[in-house]
């Protein structure tokens, strides 16, 4: 589909919860300078599939991933892969804003600190400032960095979580419905932010808001009942879907 080598790719990936198969033989490539959106009705396996990109499914009891997922051609489920380092390279933003009950500064500084990315306090402060700037939050919080991260509004909390993810300088950012708990204004800010972050990071966003997928992404994958129905350029998919099921979904016939 593209000439460049994909940043991440999945080949024949299946995810099981116990006996139930949530994702069925999905293959997909994620490119570096694109935003890829996963859309589909609730329970179609898009979030589960997303979580197999940074092995967050490992923490779910009974979850099992089959198939091959690679980051820069390296199998991330290989025994030699360090899962802690993988999650630093593949950051994640969750559906519900989940800042730590610590200060704003500590929220952002935590990642760089545990990975030893800053040699000195001033360097750490620099990392925190640039992460907050890139997350578009700096001007709002620069005077109250010692306030609790949980005291911010929902939209600010979510941008704080994005700042926390980019502070460890990841290569890929996975976003699991990052705006579904936010009001339209906060959602617009997050979407704007995603546009600004594109190019620096490979971004994968799960959403069930089709307009959002159309606005922020260049590639869209449509999932239904655990299978990947269609994957292609966003513009093409929303104007001329190849599959009947995709067409039904994006025109609102079901979902």
């Amino acid at each position: 589909m593209t000439e460049q080598t994909p940043k991440m790719s999945a080949r024949d990936v299946s995810v099981f919860y116990g006996d139930k198969q949530a994702v069925k033989n999905v293959s997909i490539d994620i490119d570096m300078d694109k935003v890829t959106a996963f859309i589909g009705p609730s329970g179609c396996g898009k979030s589960t599939f997303l979580r197999s990109f940074n092995r967050m499914n490992d923490t779910v009891a009974g979850a099992r991933v089959e198939g091959l997922v690679t980051l820069d051609g390296e199998d991330i489920y290989a025994p030699s892969m360090d899962v802690v380092q993988l999650r630093a390279r593949v950051g994640m933003v969750f559906q519900k804003p989940n800042p730590f009950p610590k200060s704003i500064f500590e929220n952002v500084a935590y990642g760089p600190r545990i990975h030893g990315l800053a040699a000195s306090r001033s360097e750490l402060e620099g990392i925190v400032e640039s992460a907050l700037r890139r997350a578009g939050l700096w001007d709002e919080v620069k005077d109250r960095l010692s306030d609790s991260g949980t005291a911010l509004s929902g939209g600010q909390q979510q941008r704080l979580c994005i700042a926390r993810a980019i502070a460890v300088d990841p290569e890929v950012i996975l976003m699991d419905e990052p705006a579904s708990a936010l009001d339209p204004i906060a959602t617009a800010k997050i979407e704007e932010l995603i546009g600004e972050l594109r190019g620096r990071y490979a971004i994968v966003i799960v959403t069930h808001n089709m307009q959002q997928a159309a606005r922020v992404s260049q590639r869209t994958a449509f999932f239904h009942l655990g299978t990947l129905v269609e994957y292609g350029e966003t513009d093409a998919m929303f104007t001329a879907p190849r599959m009947e099921r995709t067409k039904d979904y994006i025109t609102g016939r079901y979902g």
Partner: protein, 433 residues
């Protein structure tokens, strides 16, 4: 897709103002009021019991902190004790004065001064007070001095109008002569057990409790919390961990005296293996063995409370930390444990309070000994506050009644101090969300 609901023509519209409806509302309000009343009554009842308990203890116990002194005049010049004055400045003074029949001199002085039965007016340990006075100022030996000494239990009871006829008469005489004084009994907080209720003190038992609680905490808290972390965060869910969980829950309900038997058998027992005798592992009657036994008893409580606290930490916090590459140990120590700490400390308070009030298991491992010297360390024979209370409540002498209540007050104060410290720590850990 959204077809309208079929019209319900057969159903009469609900009349919200009908008498039956009004009656239902009235019944609902009545039920509400009744429930509130029952709740209030329950609170008042428990508060009344608590107030009654405290009032009884304080009204009886305060006397335990008060001592009646009798001013005794002793003419040492006339008695001419055969004591080398130089020795009085040395550690040998105690022995020298005891050898010089000081005790009999003091008793004699009391008999002379107070008349027949006078030596019964002063406490058995009155001469020890005189000894202190002489050691402080050896020139006392060259003149007649007036020293307030503790009154005997007999006189003390009589002064309260609760003595024999002779004692009553003696009390009246002494009071009329202005020789009787009362004051705060600092010795009660300084001394240890004794056969004479006037001479008993709580310090030995208090120190024993402190040492025992220290051992209990140092063992039960880390082991309990680490077990809880392992079981919650690392252990796989299978039949074995289910079995462990059931066992822990059952252990928390095992009567405490069983733990005493366990401590006796394991720590104080002896075994003979191929002609070689082993054990006992720990010294008998000591704070060490008591602390270890109580630690075993409260560990299940701490494990259960800690597991619940750890379980209550929102999974989103774990996800957040894992999502930026924290290792499982970092997730536990940086995020889960700080958030679970208030709950863990609450469980620890409950466990420690239970351990502090425990008597039965300690009786079995020999902590009911008659301890005159406060324990110097963890391996010295010791007793603890509840056991001391139990022992005193068993005494025949009337003087022990108020001492028992006073000891209960000390135990309550200890409990309050311990809990306040724990609550203070818990509030410091508490995170605002």
């Amino acid at each position: 897709m959204n077809s309208p609901l079929p019209a319900q023509a057969d159903r009469t519209p609900t009349d919200w103002n009908a008498p039956a409806m009004q009656k239902r509302i009235a019944r609902r309000y009545a039920a509400e009021r009744r429930f509130k009343l029952f709740g209030l009554a329950a609170v008042v009842l428990s508060a009344a019991f608590l107030a009654f308990l405290l009032a009884t203890m304080v009204s009886q116990g305060w006397r335990g902190f008060v001592r009646t002194d009798v001013a005794l005049t002793i003419d040492f010049k006339a008695a001419a004790l055969p004591v080398d004055r130089a020795v009085l400045r040395t550690p040998g003074a105690d022995l020298a004065l005891a050898g010089a029949e000081l005790e009999n001199t003091v008793k004699g002085a009391a008999a002379t001064q107070f008349g027949v039965g006078g030596e019964d007016a002063i406490s058995e340990y009155a001469w020890l007070k005189v000894r202190e006075a002489i050691k402080q100022d050896p020139t006392n030996l060259d003149r007649a001095v007036r020293i307030p000494v503790p009154a005997s239990t007999r006189l003390d009871q009589a002064l309260r109008g609760d003595g024999t006829a002779e004692a009553q008469a003696l009390a009246e005489r002494l009071k009329a002569a202005g020789l009787v004084s009362t004051g705060f009994n600092a010795d009660f907080l300084r001394m240890s057990d004794s056969t004479d209720p006037v001479a008993v003190g709580i310090w030995g038992a208090l120190k024993g409790s402190l040492l025992t609680m220290a051992i209990t905490f140092l063992i039960a808290f880390p082991v309990g919390v680490l077990s809880a972390i392992y079981l919650e965060e690392y252990a796989p869910r299978n039949r074995w961990t289910d079995l462990i969980e059931v066992s822990i829950n059952n252990l928390a309900a095992v009567p405490s005296i069983i733990f005493g038997l366990l401590g006796l058998a394991v720590f104080l027992g002896t075994w003979e293996v191929m002609g070689v005798r082993f054990g006992p592992i720990l010294p008998r009657s000591a704070a060490l063995v008591g602390g270890v036994t109580l630690a075993l008893m409260i560990m299940p409580v701490i494990v259960i409370a800690s597991r619940n606290a750890i379980k209550a930490v929102p999974p989103s916090i774990r996800d957040a930390a894992l999502g930026i590459g924290a290792s499982p140990v970092q997730v536990v120590f940086h995020h889960v444990l700080p958030l679970a700490m208030p709950g863990i400390l609450t469980g620890t308070i409950i466990g420690m309070a239970r351990a502090l009030g425990e008597t039965a298991p300690l009786l079995l491992i020999g902590m009911r000994a008659f301890i005159v010297q406060p324990p110097g360390g963890f391996t010295d024979p010791a007793t603890v506050l509840p056991v001391q209370i139990f022992l005193w409540s068993d005494e025949v002498s009337r003087g022990f009644v108020e001492k028992t209540s006073a000891a209960i007050l000390v135990l309550l104060a200890f409990l309050l101090a311990m809990n306040s410290l724990a609550i203070y720590l818990r509030n410091r850990f508490e995170t605002r969300w």
